[in-house]
Structures are given as C-alpha cells and as structure tokens.
Symmetry: C2
Subunit: 396 residues, 2 copies
C-alpha cells in the first residue's frame, strides 16, 4: 500500500553503490590501501582554501539571522547577481540575476527543470553514455528518457541519430559536457548542428524543443580545452550547474539553473521553475553556501592533480594495449573492454583488486568507467594490476 | 507547452509573500521601523553560539574532502546515530540510526514522506488551521488534502470529525504540533484518541493509515508545556523534523524523517523514503550542517525572547478586547477577527501600519495569524496601534 516504485528505487542499489559496498568489505579483509577502487566520482582534491576562509569571514562579519536565514525561494538577489556577472564576463552572454534560480545541487537543478517543462507523454533525448540517474529523474517527472548512441570513436553527440529520434513528443535534449562517464567535451561544431536541428524541429512541431545542459564538470577541463556556452548557440536553453566538482563541495548541495533570457516565454518558464521547486519541497538553496558560491565563483579546486592522473592513466593503459577515449574534461576515463561483456571484464579486474564500473547502466555495453579522482599514488599502485589484466587478454 | 500548473504555482504569490512585498514597499515610504510587520515566520533570535563555534571547529579539525564531501543518501551514519541517541534519551523511544533519513529541511521531509506512501486517489487528512503549503505538497505527490476543522475554542484536533472524514482512500493523517498558525500543542489525550481511531480504521480498511507529525516547532514551547512524541502513541508514525526553528537556521535546510521502527513493513517503507528522495533529486542533506545538527542537537536559540513576546502580545490584545487563542508553542498568535471577513480586518489594520495575515489560506476564515518572532521593541511600538484598532471595532 506504499508507492512500490519508490520502494524499488530505494532498494535497488546502483552498480556503483554495489561496488562501493564491495570495496568497503574487501578493504576490511586486505587493507583499504590494497583495494584499487576507481568506482566513485567523489572529488579527491580539497576545496580551495578560499572556501573555508570565506566561511570563517562570513561567520565573523555577518549577523547570524541574516547568514542562516531564509533567502527568497529563487536565491539571494546579490548571489544571483554574482552568478550573472561572472557568466556574462566569462561567456560573453547577457544575463541578469532574474535568469538564475539557486538550487540544492545539479540533481535538483535537473529535476526542477524537467518538472517545470514536462507534460504527460513527453520524451527527453539524451546521448549514451549518460549518467544513469537521468532515467530516474526523467521518469520521476513523467517523461520517457530516449537515449541516442554517441558516435563511435569520438563519442561526440550523433546529431543524425538525434534528428531521427525527435518526434512530436520530444520536449528536450539533455546534454552533459564534459561528459560523465566519458570526459568528452561537446565541440562547438556539434552544438551548432544540435541547435540547427532543434530550431528546425521546433518550427516543424510548433513548440520549442528545449536544450538542457548538465554542466557540473564545466571547469574541469585540461590543456586548452574550453566548454562552449550553449546560450551562445541556442535560445531555448537551460544550464543546470553545480559547484560540487569545481569547488569540491559535493556534500554541500549548491548549484543553479540558468534560464536563457532569450528563451521563448522566458518569464513564464522561469515561473514554472519556481513552481516546480516549490512543489518538490525546495524552499531555498542552503544559505551559507549560496554566499560562499557567490564569493568563490570562478575559482576551482587544484585540477592539475586530475590532469596528472588522467595523463598517467591514459598513457599507461594505451601502452598496455587498452582502447581508451582520451578525456578532455571531468575525471572519468571511458575504456572499451577487450571482451564484449563489461561485467565479466570487471569481475576479472577484481582478481587484481581493481574496481571498475561496467558502463551498461550508462547505456554503453562493452565499456567501463574508471574514475580517476583518486590519489595519484593509487594510480601508481594500480598500474601493475592493469598491466597484468592486459596480459591476461593478450594485449601486451 | 510547459507545465502550466508549475507556472501557476510559481506565479501565484502566497498571501504572506504579498504582505512581505507590501512591507518592503511601505518601509521605503515611511521607514521600515514604522511598518509593524507581523507576517513572516522567520526566526528573529540568532542561532545559539554553539552553531558557529561548531562550524569553526569543524573547519579547523576536519579534512575538507570529508567535511564537504557526499554523505550517504540517507545521511552520515554517525549523524543519524546522534539523532537516534538524542531522541531515545529525550522521548523514551527505541530508535536506531537506520530509522532516520536526513533531509533538506521540513518541506523536504514532508514531500519525501508523502511521495513514499501516496498512490493515485489517496487522501491525506489534516486539521485546520494548517500551513498552506501542505496543499501544494500533497497535491504535488498526487494526493488530495482533506482539511478537518479543529475544535472551536481550544483548536485541539477534532477526532470525531476526523473519524467521519476517513474512508478507504485515506492514506495518512498529517498533524502539526505546536501548530503553525495557532501555536496549539496537541495534548496527550488528543493523540490517544487519534491513535485509537487510526488503529480501528486501519483494521477496518485492511491497510495502515499513517500518522505524519510535522514538528519543526517541537522545542519552541513555553512554561512547562511538553510535546508528546507520537511514536509512543502509534506505531505507523513518521516524524518530519527540521532544525530551522529550534537552532534558528531556516536558510540552511537541515532536518530529518524518522520512520518508526515499529511501523508495519518498516524496512520497505524506509526504502520507499530513500527512493522518493532519490527521484525528487535529493542526493544528500547538506554535509556541514548534518555535522552541526549532530553536535548541537538538544540546544535551542534563546526562546525566552519568544515567550516574552507572546506574553506581552496575548495579555495586551486580550486586555484590548480581542479574542486570542493562547499559544503554548511556536511563535504565532491566532486571533479571531471582530468582523467575519479577515481580509477586511487586515486592511483596516494596515491603516495603523499593522501587517497581519488573514487565515483564510490556512483553512480558517475569520482569523488572523500574528507572527511574534520579531524584536520585542516592535511589539511595544505596535501596542498603541492594536489598541486603536480595537477601539475602531468598539472592543475597548
């Protein structure tokens, strides 16, 4: 007599969570330093010092009732202005405080955005590989998630397949760049193609097809990579952002939704975002971390550590004969498995104490995700194990 | 083509929000100190010093990656153990960490609980006066909110009317003690009656009818008043708690759901709570404030200020001839209006710069809510205005 689908969602552990539990158990048996756990996307780099320094300063300087009190539902006005000022300066866009809605992190940003726009029978297209919770969020809002496979090799969005998948029920395209689990950054060329198709298809069906960009890894890019801002490509765009990864604050739950000022019926859509937040029980984003985000926006944790990890891992695994997609951002490496069954491959990897995530639930059988947001020493310790695994498959 | 009901919820301001906006505008005209605003339930008393002291200590002593990192979805295990230890000691109940699910405040506690148990056509009964967002939350989860009027005079729950309202669709009874907007604490006798009826009706309909206690004001009681713990009265109980009012942290969004360990199918219901949190986009409750709550549980802001405000206001308004329900807790005074139309009364009050909230949206026409979580000086300044208003109605 309770909601069985909620019970199932609560009982059914994700593959990642299963591995996490195994890692704890195995660590108790052989010492956690001997478990080579690459399963979890939890930032290993501390928040920049400015975060804790800002908290200390706010505690000393700000009246407690103001510091810890309710903000307006959409977020403190000065905080939203700081978001707008930074985005305008950085991406050459023209937004104001009233285009931003502060949220309790990226998951909240996505669920609130979907809830605001989804009607019965709506479909949301995304590109595989994709973060598995997208399905939970979309279905929870009453939409069907329609995955479209990315282009083999580059893992750029397959816009031809996307166009074929669009129909009169398509409400939105959900992109994630840099991508979890592949680390791929969607190129400017890809975004231009997506925008062209969406404009054409919106006209054809007589209603906007929205573009939703899930961008928690936006600042985690390496070398000279840049993540293009979708507002410069397509008007009916939402950016769902979180400070979890850029500031290494995943537990504090702070992010925002940016509703493009050029969106059709912008004020009505923004109101629907506010209404969705209200009905989902989001009273306001955590106040202290709203103020911290406003002060620290544009800074990042020390991502050179992730870059070092990436280079070490990609170069070594490639040398051992594995087939990797070189990630431009985020802190995940996506690797083709030398046998078709990724779960079987992960079981073999376990014999060497390597914990990897089969990508089936990411919509990509035959791949694994390797989260390299770990101590570099762990990668160094893991390399002989990866090499032995490669040998077992005759790759080297 | 967006979700129109979300848009309407975002556009339609609550009565309280309307008055809040009026107060800002009027303050700009005549000086905010001359606006006697009793509309908002925002704690005016700062958090106890231990809150900021605990934050400072955690910043100094705890590794940033642990302090600001993800906790498990249901909350950090040690934090949940602290919740259980405190509740067991204080209320003589027997709970464990696994009965608690940490949330982003009371609204999240309520929405997650409702989402976990509600099926199509379900009804949730509550007692008027009630917090208007209950309707938004219940309807958002697909349930119908069925208000039952409280007993005139005492504003205790009318259990006879409740029993009449129960039918095969009744999934839960939602109580709020101390009550917003009346400040009334439900007595032990009332809870015994509610529990007896629910046991009988659960048997009659062959499924549990849950009792949900929304208790953000639990510690805000005056004189020797105690809020009975519903787990001692009824097994199929949820407690939805928030630290917003007890620790004066409403912006930080931290609370919990307690699923009674004696609840029928307790583990399945707890799993449904976890699933509902997941589908609604709640990844975990804010980490830093989970740890703060665990350290500061049992402490309160200085509630003697609220008691002083209450006494001053109740005694004076009664002396002027108004008909008030003396509140035992929370920081609201519920007052019968001398004319039937509470909105008309509030308009007259505005002439004296008094901002009161008509209780129509709380399900009680003919009453106003007076939030006394303000500076005592504001009440002192307001008394002549209240007296003049009483004179206008010939009450004194």
């Amino acid at each position: 007599m309770i909601n069985a689908s909620m019970m199932n969602l609560g009982q059914q552990r994700s593959v990642i969570r299963e591995i996490f539990e195994y890692a704890k158990k195995r660590g108790a048996e052989i010492g956690s330093e001997n478990v080579l756990d690459f399963s979890i996307g939890n930032p290993s780099v501390p928040a920049p010092d400015s975060v804790n320094d800002t908290i200390r300063r706010l505690l000393n300087e700000t009246d407690s009732v103001l510091l810890h009190g309710y903000t307006s539902a959409q977020g403190d006005a000065n905080v939203r202005k700081a978001m707008a000022d930074y985005s305008n300066k950085t991406y050459g866009i023209t937004t104001t405080a009233d285009d931003y809605y502060m949220t309790v992190g990226a998951a909240a940003s996505l669920v609130i955005t979907m809830k605001a726009i989804v009607l019965p029978e709506d479909e949301i297209i995304t590109f595989a590989p994709f973060f598995p919770e997208y399905r939970v969020f979309a279905e929870g809002c009453g939409a069907k998630l329609v995955p479209v496979m990315s282009i083999e090799g580059t893992l750029q969005a397959d816009t031809v397949a996307m166009e074929e998948a669009i129909n009169e029920h398509t409400k939105a395209i959900l992109i994630n760049s840099p991508n979890n689990p592949s680390g791929v950054v969607l190129s400017s060329e890809t975004l231009i193609k997506i925008a062209d198709i969406l404009k054409r298809k919106s006209d054809e069906y007589g209603h906007p097809i929205y573009l939703i960009a899930d961008e928690p890894y936006r600042e985690l890019v390496y070398d000279d990579e840049q993540v293009p801002c979708i507002l410069n490509y397509y008007d009916n765009s939402f950016v769902c952002y979180s400070f979890s990864k850029s500031l290494s604050l995943p537990g504090e739950r702070i992010g925002y939704i940016l509703v493009s000022p050029k969106m059709q019926d912008n004020r009505e859509v923004y109101a629907a975002v506010c209404g969705a937040g209200r009905v989902l029980g989001y009273v306001c984003a955590p106040a202290l971390f709203q103020f911290v985000a406003a002060e620290c926006i544009g800074q990042t944790a020390d991502i050179s550590i992730y870059k070092r990890n990436r280079d070490l891992l990609v170069n070594s695994l490639t040398e051992y004969g594995f087939d990797c997609v070189r990630p431009d951002g985020a802190f995940y490496l996506f690797m083709k498995t030398p046998e078709a069954d990724a779960s079987a491959f992960c079981e073999k990897a376990k014999k060497f104490e390597l914990l990897l995530v089969p990508a089936d639930s990411f919509g990509c059988p035959g791949y694994v995700r390797i989260a390299y947001c770990v101590q570099t020493e762990q990668i160094e310790r893991a390399l002989p194990a990866f090499k032995a695994l490669a040998k077992e498959y005759g790759l080297c």
